[in-house]
C-alpha cells in the first residue's frame, strides 16, 4: 500500500540527533562531508569511521535500517572498487597475470575509496535523512539561506513550494494508484507490448493526473488566499527553531574532528610491508 509509505527515509525517534537543531545538523553535515573527502590516510579514515559509528550509536537507529540506506549504492561501491583496483598503477605489481596487474597502491585506493563512500552515504543519512523530518529540513533551509532574500532570491517561496510538495506527495501517490486501477478496470494494458506501446499506455494515467493536479493547485491557491496568505512578508512562525548549548558543542566536536583528520593526513602515516598507510 502506497498509503503506509513513510516520506523519505525519516525514522522517527527521540535521540540527541533527532532533537538537534536542523540548521546545526545541516552545517555539521557540510563539515562532515569536507573531512570525509579530505581523509587520505588510514588514521584519518579511522577517525571518520569512528565518527560515523558514534553517530549511528547515538541515533539509536537499528543497524538493519541503516544497512538499507547503502543498498542503492552497492553497485557504485563495487564498481569504484574494481575500477580503482585494476586501473591504479604503481612501481612493483602485487599480482601479474596476462594483462592484469594489481599494485599495492591499487588495493589501497580501492579500499579507501569504498570506505569513504560508505561513510559519505551512511553519515549523511544519519545526520539528515534518518533523523530530520522533511518539514524540519525545509524550515532549516529557509532559515539558513534567509540572507539570500536580500539578493532577491525568493527563498520563502521555495520553502513554501517544498512544504506543499511534501504535503501533496501522499495525496498524489494515492490518486495515481486510484487512476491506474480505474483504467485497468476499463481494460487498459500496462504490461504487454514494446516500449512505444507502453509509453502510449501511460497517457490515460498522466492526463487525469495532470488535470487533477491543476485542479488541486487551483483550489489550494484559493484556500490559501482565504486564510490570509500574502507571501512571506510579515509572516511569523509557530515553530521557532532554537539551538541549545549542546548543539554548539556538537558543532565544535565536528570541527575538531575535521582538524584531527587534517593533522592525521599530515603527520600520521606509516608503512606495513608493501603498503603505505
Amino acid at each position: 500500500m502506497f498509503k503506509d509509505m513513510t516520506l523519505g527515509q525519516y525514522f522517527p525517534g527521540n535521540s540527541f540527533l533527532h532533537r538537534a537543531d536542523p540548521r546545526v545538523k545541516l552545517v555539521a553535515l557540510v563539515v562532515y562531508l569536507v573531512f570525509v573527502l579530505l581523509a587520505k590516510t588510514a588514521c584519518a579514515l579511522g577517525i571518520v569511521l569512528v565518527t560515523m559509528l558514534t553517530l549511528a550509536a547515538v541515533s539509536r537507529i537499528p543497524f538493519s535500517v541503516l544497512a538499507r540506506s547503502l543498498k542503492p549504492v552497492v553497485f557504485i561501491l563495487l564498481f569504484t572498487g574494481v575500477l580503482n583496483l585494476f586501473l591504479t598503477t604503481g612501481e612493483t605489481p602485487l599480482v601479474e597475470w596476462k594483462f592484469i596487474h594489481i599494485y599495492p597502491e591499487g588495493v589501497r585506493t580501492a579500499v579507501y575509496m569504498m570506505l569513504r563512500l560508505v561513510c559519505l552515504v551512511g553519515g549523511s543519512s544519519l545526520l539528515l535523512s534518518y533523523t530530520t523530518s522533511p518539514l524540519d529540513l525545509t524550515d532549516a533551509i529557509e532559515s539558513l539561506f534567509g540572507f539570500l532574500k536580500k539578493l532577491h532570491v525568493p527563498i520563502h517561496e521555495f520553502a513554501m513550494m517544498m512544504t506543499i510538495a511534501l504535503r501533496f506527495i501522499p495525496t498524489l501517490t494515492e490518486e495515481t494508484d486510484k487512476i491506474i486501477s480505474a483504467q485497468k478496470a476499463r481494460g487498459a494494458d500496462f504490461e504487454s507490448g514494446g516500449l512505444v506501446r507502453k509509453a502510449k499506455a501511460i497517457v490515460p494515467i498522466l492526463i487525469p493526473l495532470f488535470v487533477s493536479a491543476f485542479r488541486r493547485a487551483d483550489e489550494l491557491a484559493e484556500a490559501m488566499e482565504c486564510r490570509c496568505y500574502h507571501g512571506g512578508e510579515g509572516r511569523t512562525k509557530l515553530k521557532v527553531m532554537r539551538s541549545r548549548p549542546s548543539d554548539y558543542v556538537f558543532l565544535l566536536a565536528m570541527a575538531l574532528l575535521c582538524a584531527g583528520v587534517v593533522l592525521a593526513n599530515r603527520f600520521l602515516s606509516f608503512e606495513v610491508g608493501v603498503f603505505t598507510l
Binding site: 500500500m1 498509503k3 503506509d4 516520506l7 522533511p134 518539514l135 512544504t163 506543499i164 511534501l166 504535503r167 501522499p170 495525496t171 490518486e175 486510484k178 487512476i179 486501477s181 480505474a182 483504467q183 485497468k184 478496470a185 476499463r186 481494460g187 487498459a188 494494458d189 497517457v203 490515460p204 492526463i207 487525469p208 488535470v211 487533477s212 485542479r215 488541486r216 483550489e219 489550494l220 484559493e222 484556500a223 490559501m224 488566499e225 482565504c226 486564510r227 490570509c228 496568505y229 500574502h230 510579515g234 509572516r235 511569523t236 512562525k237 509557530l238 515553530k239 521557532v240
Partner: protein, 581 residues
C-alpha cells in the same frame, strides 16, 4: 445594516457569457445560521466565493460587516472576518502536520508566537482534534481533515464561516461531525454560519433556508416554511425528507396535516391524530436474514480473506473469511462503515486485487485460474470507482467511452454501436459526445465516466457510490440509466452506498459488512427487519421505515416492512380509507 448585505448582485464568469447569478438581493444577520440550497449549477458555490471576496460582483454590491468586497484595500480584513471551508478536504490543507496547518492563517497574520500557540490549541480543542495535533495530515480520515480545516479557519477568529458543500465528500460519520461542529460554532461561539448544500438534513438544522434556482433567489424562510412547499422544491430539482414527501402526497389526496413536518417523530404524531388505534397481532419474530438462494450465482466469494501489509507492523485484515453469492440479475446493495471492507470487496470482484486466501468465482469459474486472461474478466465485471469522472482523459466524450471497447479489440462498427448504446443509457446526447469531457458539467461528466464502463457491456456492474455529491435530479438520472441497463441486459448490479434510502429504493438484496466480515445478508425486508443490529453497527434505517416502527409502537399500523415513499403512501392511504368507513 445587516452583517452581510447583497444588493442587486449579478455575476458572470465571462463578460459575454450567461449570468450565473442574476439580480440577487438578500441580507444575513450576525450570529445567524443560514443554509443556501440549490441544485448543481444553481450558482450557490459562486455565491459563496463572492461572499468571501475570492470573486467580485459583475454588477451590484456586496458588503460584509460594512466592507465592500470589491475594495482591494480591505481584502485582508475581509478574509479574516469571513472564513471559508471548501468541499475537498485534501485541497485546503497546506502543511503536512495538523498543528502547523492550523497555524497557517495566524502565521500569515504575523501574530506573535505565543498568540499563535494559544489560538491553535483553542481551535483544535473546539473541533475535538487536540489528540491529533502532531499527526501527519495525510493519514487522517476525510472527516478529520475537514475538522482540521475548520480549526484552521477558526484560528483567524472570524465572525463568519462559509461552508461550501463541506460535507459532500464525507462519509456519514464525517458528515455528522462537521454538522455538529457547525452547530457548536453558531450556538456557543456565536459565529455566523452559512452552509451551502443540497443535503436536506443539513438545511433542516439551520435557522433560515435560502433556495437558489438558476441564479435566482427562489425561496427564503425557516426550514419548516421552505419544506412545506414540496412541489416547488421538486421543481427546482431538490428533494425533501421522506416523511415530508409522504404527508405531502397524502395531503394531495385530501387529508389535512400540519405543514412542514421534517422528522419521523413529528410525522408519527400527526398520523396518530387521524389513525385509529388497533389491536395488533402478536409480534412475530423477524426472520433471520437468509443470505442468497443456491441458484445461479453471477459471482461468488468462497472463504475470502484479504490481508494488507503482511509481515509489517501495519498488517490489517480488510476482509476475513467472507463467503457470499450474488444471484444473477439482482441488484445487491452493499452497506457498511468506512473501513468495513466495501472497497476491498469491489476490487476483488474484477481481479484488480488477488485474495490472500479463498477464491472468487465468476459464473462458477475461478477468476485467478488463468491470470493472463484477466483483461477479459475485467470486461465482464465492470467496476465504477467513486468519483469516476476523475479518470476521463480523451479529447472527446465519444473517444473516452470507446476506450474500454477499444481495449477489448472489437471491430469498429461494434465499438460504435456500444458507444451509442452506452451514451443512451446514460442520457448523453449526440452533441455532448463530440465535446471534450472537461467541458461538461459535473453530472454529465459522471454519466460519461459511467458510460465508459457500461460500453464494455459487463454482465456484472460494481458501482462505488455512483451518485455521490450529485443533486437529487442528477442522482435520479444516474440510477434511471443503471436500472435500464440491468433490465435490458439482465446484468447483475452491486451498489455500494452510504444512503439507506438509495439502497432501499433500488436493491433486491442487501449485504452489510462490518470490520471485514459479513454482518447481515438477505433481502431488503430481512435486513431492514433487523433494526437493532443495524443500529449496533452504527448504520441507519430509511427515515420512512423509522416512521413505521414508531407507528407500530403506538399500535397504529402492524407493518414495518415499508422502505419507500410510494409504498408507504399506499399503506397509510388504505388505513385512512378504513377509518373513514
Amino acid at each position: 445594516m445587516s452583517f452581510i448585505e447583497v444588493d442587486q448582485l449579478s455575476f458572470r464568469y465571462h463578460p459575454t457569457g450567461a449570468p450565473v447569478l442574476q439580480n440577487l438581493t438578500l441580507s444575513i444577520e450576525k450570529g445567524s445560521y443560514t443554509a443556501i440550497l440549490g441544485h448543481n449549477g444553481s450558482g450557490k458555490s459562486t455565491l459563496a466565493k463572492l461572499l468571501c471576496g475570492i470573486l467580485t460582483p459583475s454588477e451590484g454590491k456586496i458588503t460584509v460587516d460594512g466592507m465592500d468586497t470589491s475594495d482591494e484595500s480591505v481584502s485582508l480584513r475581509l478574509r479574516k472576518t469571513c472564513g471559508m471551508i471548501f468541499q475537498n478536504p485534501d485541497n485546503q490543507l497546506v502543511a503536512g502536520m495538523v498543528e502547523e496547518d492550523v497555524a497557517f492563517a495566524p502565521e500569515n497574520l504575523g501574530l506573535p508566537r505565543e498568540e499563535i500557540r494559544r489560538r491553535v490549541d483553542e481551535a483544535l480543542e473546539t473541533v475535538g482534534m487536540t489528540a491529533y495535533a502532531r499527526h501527519s495530515t495525510a493519514k487522517l480520515s476525510g472527516g478529520q481533515k475537514q475538522r482540521v480545516a475548520v480549526a484552521g479557519v477558526l484560528a483567524m477568529l472570524p465572525d463568519c464561516i462559509l461552508f461550501d458543500e463541506a460535507t459532500a465528500m464525507l462519509d456519514p460519520t464525517g458528515r455528522r461531525d462537521i454538522m455538529a461542529a457547525m452547530k457548536k460554532l453558531n450556538r456557543e461561539k456565536n459565529i455566523t454560519v452559512v452552509t451551502i448544500t443540497h443535503y436536506m438534513a443539513e438545511a433542516i438544522e439551520a435557522d433560515r433556508v435560502l433556495v437558489l434556482d438558476h441564479g435566482k433567489l427562489l425561496m427564503d424562510g425557516s426550514p419548516r416554511d421552505i419544506f412545506s412547499h414540496v412541489a416547488e422544491l421538486q421543481k427546482a430539482s431538490l428533494s425533501v425528507p421522506q416523511v415530508t414527501e409522504l404527508l405531502y402526497l397524502l395531503g394531495k389526496d385530501g387529508y389535512a396535516f400540519p405543514k412542514g413536518i421534517l422528522h419521523a417523530m413529528e410525522a408519527a404524531d400527526a398520523l396518530e391524530a387521524v389513525l385509529p388505534k388497533r389491536a395488533l397481532p402478536a409480534d412475530a419474530k423477524a426472520p433471520e436474514p437468509s443470505g442468497a438462494p443456491e441458484t445461479d450465482a453471477a459471482l461468488e466469494l468462497r472463504d475470502v480473506t484479504v490481508v494488507y501489509g503482511e509481515k509489517t507492523p501495519f498488517r490489517t485484515e480488510a476482509l476475513s473469511r467472507v463467503s457470499v453469492r450474488f444471484p444473477r440479475g439482482e441488484v445487491i446493495g452493499v452497506i457498511g462503515h468506512t473501513g468495513s471492507g466495501k472497497s476491498t470487496l469491489a476490487t476483488l470482484l474484477n481481479g484488480l486485487r488477488k485474495p490472500t486466501e479463498g477464491t472468487v468465482l465468476l459464473g462458477g469459474v475461478d477468476l485467478w485460474k488463468e491470470p493472463k486472461q484477466m483483461r477479459k474478466i475485467r470486461s465482464r465485471v465492470g467496476l465504477v470507482f467513486q468519483y469516476p469522472e476523475y479518470q476521463l482523459f480523451e479529447e472527446t466524450v465519444r473517444a473516452d467511452i470507446a476506450f474500454g471497447p477499444r481495449n477489448m479489440a472489437l471491430p469498429a462498427e461494434e465499438i460504435d454501436r456500444r458507444v451509442r448504446d452506452a451514451a443512451s443509457f446514460c442520457g448523453l446526447s449526440a452533441e455532448e459526445l463530440e465535446k471534450s469531457p472537461f467541458e461538461l458539467s459535473g453530472g454529465q461528466k459522471r454519466r460519461a465516466a459511467i458510460a465508459g464502463v457500461i460500453a464494455m457491456e459487463p454482465e456484472v456492474l460494481v458501482l462505488d457510490e455512483p451518485a455521490a455529491g450529485l443533486d437529487p435530479k442528477g442522482r435520479e438520472e444516474i440510477f434511471g440509466g443503471l436500472m435500464e441497463y440491468r433490465e435490458r441486459r439482465g446484468a447483475t448490479l452491486l451498489l455500494i452506498s452510504h444512503s439507506m434510502e438509495e439502497v432501499a429504493r433500488y436493491a433486491d438484496r442487501i449485504l452489510v459488512l462490518k470490520n471485514g466480515r459479513v454482518y447481515l445478508y438477505g433481502t431488503v425486508g430481512e435486513v431492514f427487519g433487523q433494526a437493532e443490529k443495524l443500529f449496533d453497527a452504527s448504520l441507519d434505517l430509511p427515515q420512512i421505515t423509522k416512521l413505521f416502527l414508531e407507528l407500530k409502537k403506538r399500535s397504529l399500523c402492524a407493518e414495518t416492512d415499508v422502505y419507500t415513499v410510494p409504498y408507504a403512501k399506499k399503506r397509510i392511504g388504505r388505513l385512512l380509507e378504513c377509518s373513514k368507513t
